[in-house]
Symmetry: C2
Subunit: 244 residues, 2 copies
């Protein structure tokens, strides 16, 4: 196994693949799916709506969460799980705003998986939470494949990254339930980012998810984001226990 | 196996890991390493210097290559291998500048591997090239683990991404032989990016690689980059065939 990174099976597409390889990979993903279903049931039982935020590194996931907490903390109780290969930086940033934030250091792993999230859930006061935000590892490829038990997948795309990203990272943009174009305040200086082109690239993947733009720094567009959150909170999945 | 992505073994860190899993992963990485050594020998035989460009999506790898070609094309012959999950966008962009560019569409795979590069090498006129640039898949995690046969690893970090990235993505920044801070023209508008902090984070990983800043758009700092390329070209590995 690679000393510095867990991401080694990717090469199955190119190196000599055996039946054994395929069997092992199927096994691992089935295990992840099973645990994710358990997580989702657990969240439903506690009435918590879970949103999984995914993006490239530095697209502004933590900044969006900070702005969200500032606006919603009086109304809703928010818990956060943050994934990074290393450092507690983001959880520390978020705890300053008075929310419960659990950092998962993935070490050599390039995404969160459902087993990591399951363990983190036990460190959060689920009975008291309205929202759980999961800030995934900054990676526009791998996190897309791992169901964590979330209810909604939000994919962030910074205007500095280029409008063709949905076409170039189809795996990620196909699983998006909502796409948020971030760093809108930088748009005048970037010059060559056409939001319409990003939307067209998303539609090219047959994904009809809503797309919105915002700037966590200036606050522009934040109202649309907050309205969406309020809506998904109101229409959250209900868990009905059937007594025997 | 995941239907939409090859990245499934990552979860070995968390899900039930068996000896079989570990065996399979070791096997795949050993295969990659073996092919990479073959690629490097092949490049040395043809006197080609190979530079592997890695970064998060949208950090400006293609823009840097365009600026590089514009400056060096009269002096050196340049070949390019571009990796993306989908689309030929980048190879098309680069071919407009009159260079040989081979696009690898990785499909479900989040990085280039040495077998992919090996096949692409056969589509390039190696005997006529001075430089081979490999533009890896935009991903600040997984490409770090896969030796492709390159001579130099360059990691790009856009000033819009945040200065703590080396600490948060240590696997990638540890393998960097050179770090290039890109989109320097956006620095005044980003506000909170301290180049010194990015360098300190890199040094925190015990990596002493040179760090430089540039803007492919304004041209600022490009001279330093071009000087480095000229230097590594002059001091390229020599291949001496021993006659039997």
């Amino acid at each position: 196994m690679c000393d510095s990174c867990g991401c080694s099976d990717h090469s199955v597409a190119e190196v000599r693949t055996t039946e054994e390889h395929v069997h092992v990979l199927r096994d691992l993903l089935a295990e992840n799916k099973h645990q994710a279903l358990h997580n989702r049931l657990h969240l439903d039982q506690h009435g918590v709506v879970a949103v999984n935020l995914m993006s490239a590194p530095g697209a502004g996931k933590t900044a969006l969460l900070e702005a969200t907490i500032a606006e919603l903390a009086g109304q809703y109780r928010i818990g956060i799980i943050v994934g990074d290969l290393a450092t507690e930086n983001d959880a520390r940033r978020l705890r300053r705003h008075g929310v419960d934030a659990v950092q998962i250091e993935t070490g050599q792993v390039c995404h969160l998986d459902s087993a990591m999230v399951h363990r983190a859930l036990h460190d959060l006061p689920l009975d008291e939470l309205d929202f759980l935000f999961i800030e995934n590892v900054g990676n526009l490829v791998c996190p897309a494949c791992f169901d964590l038990g979330q209810h909604h997948n939000v994919v962030l795309l910074s205007v500095t990254e280029g409008a063709d990203k949905p076409a170039k990272y189809p795996v990620m943009f196909r699983v998006a339930d909502r796409v948020v174009l971030t760093k809108l305040d930088l748009l005048p200086y970037v010059g060559d980012f056409q939001p319409e082109a990003a939307i067209a690239a998303l539609r090219g993947l047959a994904n009809t998810a809503p797309v919105q733009a915002l700037s966590a720094r200036s606050g522009e567009g934040l109202d649309v984001w907050l309205t969406w959150l309020t809506t998904i909170r109101k229409s959250r999945p209900m868990y009905i226990q059937v007594s025997s």
